[in-house]
């Protein structure tokens, strides 16, 4: 444990407070409810102090004749105010410092900077994606004027520049705060952006022939305070004030970056990172961020289906589940295999474990997904819940190790039935001929595949944005998904499908809510003891023993 941090006395707008040494002035003010408007400052990046919007009045204790601070009648130091306004984003507090965030001088500074930012700014609000979440718009309401006294021609700069495959740049809107340049250099380690030209004609660019194509490029869109950098994917799609934002997590790799899923009328329009200093700081990678379009695919499986005379016909849930149960009961132990997915939630995996037990299945595993880790956020494990699958015994310390044996047994005929949950059997090496050999395939899924086309019973499930549940990331953090949209058609929550399937097979139920599932888990698994879905909250809970190690590792992001 480190020594307790020293507390310093700081006066903000006439009231004395205490803050830990090393607190930035602007953060100290925010903590006591005094929000100071700013553009270029970002808590996760270096502070250049160039926008000048956070100017405030600062004072220090007046030294007495003995060089010590002169004390006033209240026993506090008398403040000597610095005539020149100071920026609050680049300096840490000091003992006896005093700040005025709302004095006439501070207001004048803000109004002045606001005016300067608007004189060359194009009147693009009606067509600009940033409208509704634009700091220039917001602060101009508070600190701007209703009409402009600028009578000159505005400076023209490149508009609609394809800065990279996913980012569009409008140089006229840019206020030259340099957040994007600093992010790319300091966080994404890809120093590809810079300012060219000089003075009022300065503009942002990437070197010709070099593109902003880093896997973290869309974070610059998040941090751009105006509409200069916009997501090409989201461009002109939806006004942000219509979006409902649901807290969830990304499921494209084992990092589990915290996200906000932006939806309207049951359609997902975008994902943005949600700050969690124990996981992803304020960032997420482009790959995970954009990996949601399949949710809206017209090919989504929407109706339960049953195979009749070699073709799949639509059915209903009651019949489909009954058929699945009947068919499964025909096989004895050792003849059924189960391929689950490490993209399933803990609740789904827990019920899978019970399904495995009730059917006496010994051949079960998940489908591994590996890629290259990038030392920033992207994990080498592209499955979001491998740890969950391991914790519940669906797979072992070597996910996928049992798959070759299973494919062998399918080919040799000793396995005659497979339950496939959210995966495609051709991904584990089986061919469509092998699939035809099987007597029974019970499959859940969300999109059509060879497996679903050859299924005996097809049960449409939900995608990540359509379910509530929990997953465990690569660092042992238990995190929660929340439902942002409804699954299409008649598709259902996978945990409910599994519960009903188990009921078909064993007759037992007793679970009505997903919280009940979690309670069962908490009772059975020591690591999850005492937890509940609401206790996890949207920030998650670290299960790993070395919780401190986790914080340190991600703090370097």
């Amino acid at each position: 444990m480190s020594a307790p941090t020293e507390l310093l006395n700081v006066q903000i707008d006439g009231v004395w407070h205490q803050f830990p040494k090393g607190t930035r002035v602007i953060e100290a003010c925010r903590r006591v409810g005094k929000f100071i408007p700013h553009y270029c400052y970002h808590p996760k990046l270096s502070s250049p102090g160039n926008c000048r919007m956070c100017l405030i009045e600062m004072g220090m204790p007046k030294p007495g004749p003995d060089r010590k601070p002169e004390l006033g009648p209240d026993g506090r130091p008398v403040i000597s105010w610095i005539p020149r306004p100071q920026i609050s984003c680049a300096q840490d507090i000091a003992e006896g410092m005093a700040i005025r965030t709302d004095s006439p001088l501070a207001k004048e500074c803000r109004n002045g900077v606001m005016e300067f930012l608007l004189i060359n700014h194009p009147l693009d609000c009606p067509i600009c994606d940033q409208a509704g979440e634009c700091h220039l718009q917001e602060y101009s309401v508070e600190f701007g004027t209703a009409s402009s006294r600028f009578l000159e021609e505005k400076v023209k700069k490149p508009k609609h520049v394809e800065l990279g495959p996913r980012v569009t740049l409008d140089d006229e809107r840019c206020i030259l705060c340099s957040r994007c340049i600093r992010f790319m250099k300091e966080i994404a380690h890809d120093d590809v952006l810079g300012f060219v030209s000089r003075g009022s004609y300065t503009y942002l660019t990437a070197y010709p022939n070099k593109r902003l194509d880093s896997n973290y490029s869309l974070n610059t869109v998040d941090i751009c305070p105006v509409g200069a950098l916009t997501s090409t994917d989201f461009r002109f799609k939806m006004r942000v004030w219509f979006l409902k934002e649901t807290n969830s997590i990304c499921t494209s790799c084992a990092t589990g970056c915290n996200t906000l899923i932006g939806t309207r009328q049951n359609v997902v329009y975008r994902q943005t990172p949600r700050e969690n200093n124990d996981v992803n700081s304020s960032w997420m990678c482009d790959y995970g961020r954009l990996n949601f379009h399949y949710l809206n695919s017209p090919e989504r499986l929407q109706k339960p289906q049953i195979q009749e005379k070699e073709a799949l016909v639509n059915s209903n849930w009651k019949s489909a589940l009954a058929r699945a149960g009947d068919e499964l009961r025909k096989f004895v132990n050792g003849q059924i295999a189960l391929i689950a997915s490490a993209r399933m939630t803990n609740e789904e995996l827990w019920l899978t474990k019970r399904l495995i037990a009730s059917l006496g299945i010994v051949d079960h595993d998940v489908v591994p997904r590996r890629g290259e880790a990038d030392q920033i956020l992207l994990s080498a494990d592209r499955n979001p819940n491998t740890l969950g699958a391991q914790l519940f015994g669906i797979t072992n310390e070597n996910p996928g190790a049992k798959l070759p044996e299973i494919t062998e047994k399918v080919r040799s005929g000793s396995i005659r039935a497979i339950v496939v949950l959210g995966e495609d059997l051709t991904d584990i090496g089986l061919t469509t001929d092998d699939l035809k050999k099987l007597s029974l395939i019970v499959a859940t899924g969300i999109l059509p595949s060879e497996t679903t086309r050859h299924a005996t019973v097809l049960l449409p499930g939900s995608a990540f944005a359509e379910k509530r549940g929990s997953m465990i990331n690569s660092k042992g953090r238990l995190q929660r998904l929340n439902r942002a949209v409804q699954a299409p058609g008649e598709a259902r929550d996978d945990w409910e499908i599994l519960r009903d399937l188990i009921q078909q097979l064993t007759g037992t139920n007793g679970i009505y809510l997903i919280e009940d599932v979690f309670r069962q888990i908490a009772d059975a698994i020591p690591e999850m003891k005492g937890l509940s879905l609401s206790k996890i909250s949207d920030k998650g809970v670290s299960l790993a023993e070395e919780a401190e190690e986790t914080t340190k590792a991600t703090a370097s992001i």
Partner: protein, 164 residues
Amino acid sequence: MEIPAELESQIDEVIGHYPVSKRSATLPLLHLFQEYFGLIEDQAIEWIARKLELEPINVLELVTFYPMFRREPLGKHHIRVCRTLSCAMAGGYQLLDTFCKHANIVREHSGHDDHLLKSADGKYSIEFVECLASCGFGPVCMIDDDFFEAVAQEEVPQLLEKYQ
């Protein structure tokens, strides 16, 4: 990009002046390229970036900031006329006009960045520059690397004679 050996040895010598950080050598290298080739092309920017282990954008940022580095070739002889206050008071603007007349340069202003004017035959290019630090003896100008003070309008033709 082809870098002649003598230029390369000058480059290596100059880099040695900055033992702490190679990046400091960007400006001197750009000067060497500007003098040798008359302009800074994309290949030069990439070459310098590779040599100093920088990104090309780091070099481009400097090339576009400093007016002495050109992305387009200058005329065979380049004339710089000071336009700042003391020289303007002494006739700097008229001096540029006189130069343009005698050097056959048409004074057309296309846009902000396009403040470099060239004669049709490419012999001369001319631009206004800011204070050249000889304000008491204005109007002042430079032709290539040579400096001239207290230039009378009548002297312009004979000055140009020396730069053919």
